[in-house]
Symmetry: C2
Subunit: 581 residues, 2 copies
């Protein structure tokens, strides 16, 4: 491509609303242009990146045996009503009416439509397994779209859906996709982790997120440096401590802690480690009658070590809390504890509560907790002696760095990631809602076992940039760079030698199948170099009159601190030798 | 591709609402699946065709120097309000509100957004000319979606927009695109015509439609078999007759024509050719004051030969009618003619009207027309003698077969076409509405001169089928066939020889870069052949045990009436020699 035939448009200033590097750099590099909140035009320079992402995804999906189709952007509400999502989904589902006032949605995803196709198409087990995918425009009316393509409203997603005869088959399809995803993310040339994620009602290891590692990532990722273990924060298990509970060494005491309503403040005041304090979280569950009216409530007390945080997903799976819970009201707290929050604890309750102790709390001795009296805490608290052993001990906290890895092979570390892919076994959730069946070998109808697999096509470039940039601009991995090589002639309009050499090199590289751009715009060297460093083309060759007189061109990789002189005659071979390294 | 890894799904029956061949065949061949009225999933077999259409279009757009970008599907209403189209467009513009009740539209086309980009990006004449294109999902909420992909609501369109410094430049950009379109449609392998179309306010030869010729086409196309002349019906000029008007030979007479209110009935009753009758069309124009209130009206009488039809586009360009017109009301007709429609004519008017005679009518002698009295016509009417020469003589009719070609090189013929492309000079319509300017060489702001260029990507396959099918199914041109060659082994599961030969041939063809499918589904021959004839793969090779024993395979092109025996060892070369013919 010659720059004069392409469209290069860079900006000195980033937009005021650009909070992260990828948003700033993609805008400045002329890759995206904001049309509305969370809605962007993919400008020519950005679209090249997106197309390369798409091509890699498509190749690997095809290789994995998935079959491409394209489902409509505008989808009739009827199907979404069959699964209840038309009502259940919040305003992020963009609902519209056509000229006849019939309801439609703009697809945020396509489980309903693909399940509708499946129930029409799959008559026999002989047609299974099958995996359909599409690379298509999606819309989610996010409440707070931000970070450019990272959390936009309109975006491009690759979504795939597998259909199997049974859960075993679904798991095999899932593993096949998970493998394809590894190949895809390997090819992108990004540092990423496939992390175990919560798979909801299905259970088991049937959900993984693909996270591009970046300091600005919205997600916390847990991994073990000494093993393959990796999970997202929701999923990562905190093992039960191996050490036994120490014997009580202190007496139970009511200690004044005036105005100290947090564990941290209490620990500081009393000169003890935060890890010897226990915090109280009060939840409630409601009992409903057949009409959905609340007919009774239950208050729960969760005990966590002062330096630990509650993990909502883990809590939501506890027996008794797995049908939904809420934080207790002030009235409920007062009713059961006789005290306001900040000084709550498991001793001296006014009314009984259901108690859940985190695994760590269950093995503590001589701990400190609220006294259920304002400005007082209990110290030297011990299980069995001062209160009964906990009814329920469970993992209800987020892991922290240094925790033992669940696979027993070392300790856990935590880093930040950007979710760019997700693979998931859905089971029969959608096929049951939509009565999507096939006939098994005995001729009996069975619900299709499904899986779904997403990649955020337009989020990927943003994640790549968060991971790969410096103060001058983007540093693209070769596989998804808008151009792989840029040839920068200096004074092409004045020097016939420069022009000839530049065009010859450009032709040579093109003939070798290299995605090369010749910058024939006639910009001055400073502006030209700044443009390509901002845009982030990995390989640059500078051709100047002075260099040519010495028979030299200058090569520089975007990560190099300085240029390498290359004999003019061997420039093409030199570049080819650098590609793919 | 192997069929077992792909998705082949054919139907015996076409859907009840499928009125045209392409709709029936695409549905039966498993290429599209209806999701809602005018909304279709592109199933794997159909998507392959669409992707091939896209690839050809993209290649030729790039070759022509256009630059690809992608504009959002969901577009803020503000831009559409700037051009007034948000209000002016009818309900085919799908309007939506987001969660904050802000107005948006689903793009039916993207002039507003691209002009918004242009006004931000183009600062200097040095950046021009430039042409941006996209291949993107569109939505038009058609009142009567029908014919499958031919007139759907959601569809894929390639839309390109050129920006130039002046009209001369815009014309050059237009010619460049028109040429690219010819290359594109040549490559599709379809019989088509580029026909001159009306270019509205711009004038000149600055609009062409690309029409795929098909008996079921919605458009009438006019062409000259002896020259390059081709135009759509709206545009095609009817030349002024070369012969002079004959001298009057008959006396003016009021002739009873009881109950005969059409020219055809009158001609039959009086035993004269239809071409000697003249029909009266009564139009009206309104005079508006500054507030848009009607302050007066003018009635027009248009005279056309009895066998000719009025051309609305031509009429809408006449001086006095070019600001809009309507058909006259019954009251206005009665007021001016003193008679009801069916017997109207230019003689014996109650009040004067503005008279326009078609060029053919102006040279007629002894003609017959309504007497402005029920059940009577005037015969032997002659200009000058019986009524004044017409104030305005103009071309206001549709041409008919046999008319002289406007280029003077023969006579006109008429055929049916399906519009699949349109190139058009827009001028400054959008740039003025949206104040999109650039600085010219003198540093003065000038409005961008624009052109727009569309191809109906998803309509094209439907048009191709209307032109190329038989009673057994589709006959794809090679360039856009879902697969170019299908290898059909008979009894692959029983015969190791057949399996080996089929896979060897498949591998050979694949290695040669042929888009080949191996039907390894194990269907019986009859069902297998019927599937591929329905789907319309151009080249088929059948491999059977019996044939192999004789060292023969059977080749058949989809258009061949019978198979050709080919030596098994030379099958690949044979097929390769048949490709692209």
């Amino acid at each position: 491509m010659k720059a004069s035939r392409f469209f290069v448009s860079t900006l000195k200033e980033a937009p005021a609303d650009a909070e992260v590097a990828s948003h700033r750099l993609m805008t400045r590099a002329g890759m995206i242009k904001k049309l509305g909140t969370g809605i962007y035009t993919y400008m020519p320079m950005g679209l090249r990146v997106i197309r390369k992402v798409e091509a890699i995804v498509r190749e690997e999906m095809d290789r994995a045996g998935a079959v491409e189709l394209t489902m409509p952007v505008v989808q009739p509400a009827e199907l979404w009503q069959e699964t209840g999502r038309f009502e259940k989904m919040g305003p992020e589902l963009l609902r519209i009416q056509d000229r006849h006032e019939r309801d439609f949605v703009i697809q945020p995803t396509s489980e309903e439509v693909v399940t509708d196709i499946a129930r029409q198409e799959f008559r026999s087990y002989k047609q299974l397994p099958k995996n359909f995918y599409q690379i298509q425009t999606k819309f989610r009316d996010e409440r707070r779209p931000r970070f450019g393509l990272m959390r936009g409203r309109e975006f491009i997603m690759k979504d795939a859906y597998s259909f199997d005869r049974n859960l075993e088959g679904a798991k095999a399809s899932y593993q096949n996709m998970a493998q394809a995803y590894r190949r895809i993310f390997d090819r992108f040339g990004l540092t990423y982790r496939a992390v175990a994620a919560d798979s909801g009602a299905i259970g088991g290891d049937l959900s993984e997120e693909f996270q591009v590692i970046a300091a600005t990532g919205e997600d916390a990722i847990v991994y073990c440096a000494d093993s393959d273990y990796a999970a997202n924060m929701e999923k990562a298990e905190a093992l039960a401590p191996t050490a036994a509970r120490p014997a009580p060494a202190k007496a139970l005491e009511k200690t004044p802690t005036p105005g100290k309503s947090t564990c941290a403040d209490v620990a500081e005041l009393l000169g003890m480690p935060l890890s010897s304090t226990v915090k109280s979280l009060v939840l409630a569950t409601d009992k409903l009658d057949a009409k959905g009216e609340i007919v009774g409530s239950q208050v729960w007390l969760l005990l966590l070590r002062g330096d630990h945080d509650m993990n909502e997903i883990k809590v939501s799976k506890l027996p008794g809390l797995d049908q939904g819970f809420r934080f207790a009201t002030t009235a409920e707290i007062d009713d059961h504890f006789g005290c306001k929050p900040g000084y709550l604890g498991p001793l001296n309750l006014k009314k009984p509560v259901k108690l859940v102790a985190d695994r760590e709390v269950a093995v503590m001795a001589d701990w400190t907790t609220g006294a259920n009296e304002v400005d007082f805490h209990m110290t030297g608290v011990n299980w069995s002696r001062d209160l009964p052993e906990p009814e329920l001990v469970a993992d209800i906290r987020n892991v922290v760095a240094g925790d033992l890895s669940p696979d027993g092979k070392g300790t856990l570390a935590i880093e930040r990631g950007i979710e760019v892919g997700h693979v998931f076994v859905l089971g029969t959730k959608y096929s049951k809602d939509m009565n999507a069946t096939f006939l098994d070998e005995g001729g009996k109808p069975q619900f299709l076992e499904m899986g779904c697999y997403g990649i955020g096509i337009t989020r990927l470039p943003a994640a790549a940039i968060e991971q790969n940039h410096d103060e001058r601009g983007i540093i693209w991995p070769e596989a998804i760079a808008p151009f792989v090589v840029v040839v920068c002639p200096i004074g092409m309009d004045r020097s016939a030698d420069v022009k000839t050499a530049a065009e010859a090199l450009y032709d040579q590289l093109k003939a070798a199948g290299v995605d090369v751009l010749l910058d024939d715009r006639g910009e001055r060297p400073g502006a030209m170099f700044a443009d390509w460093e901002l845009i982030g083309v990995p390989h640059r060759i500078v051709i100047s009159d002075r260099g040519l007189k010495e028979g030299q061109l200058e090569y520089q990789h975007r990560r190099d601190t300085e240029a390498t002189k290359v004999p003019a005659g061997a420039a093409a071979e030199f570049i080819l030798s650098r590609l793919g390294q």
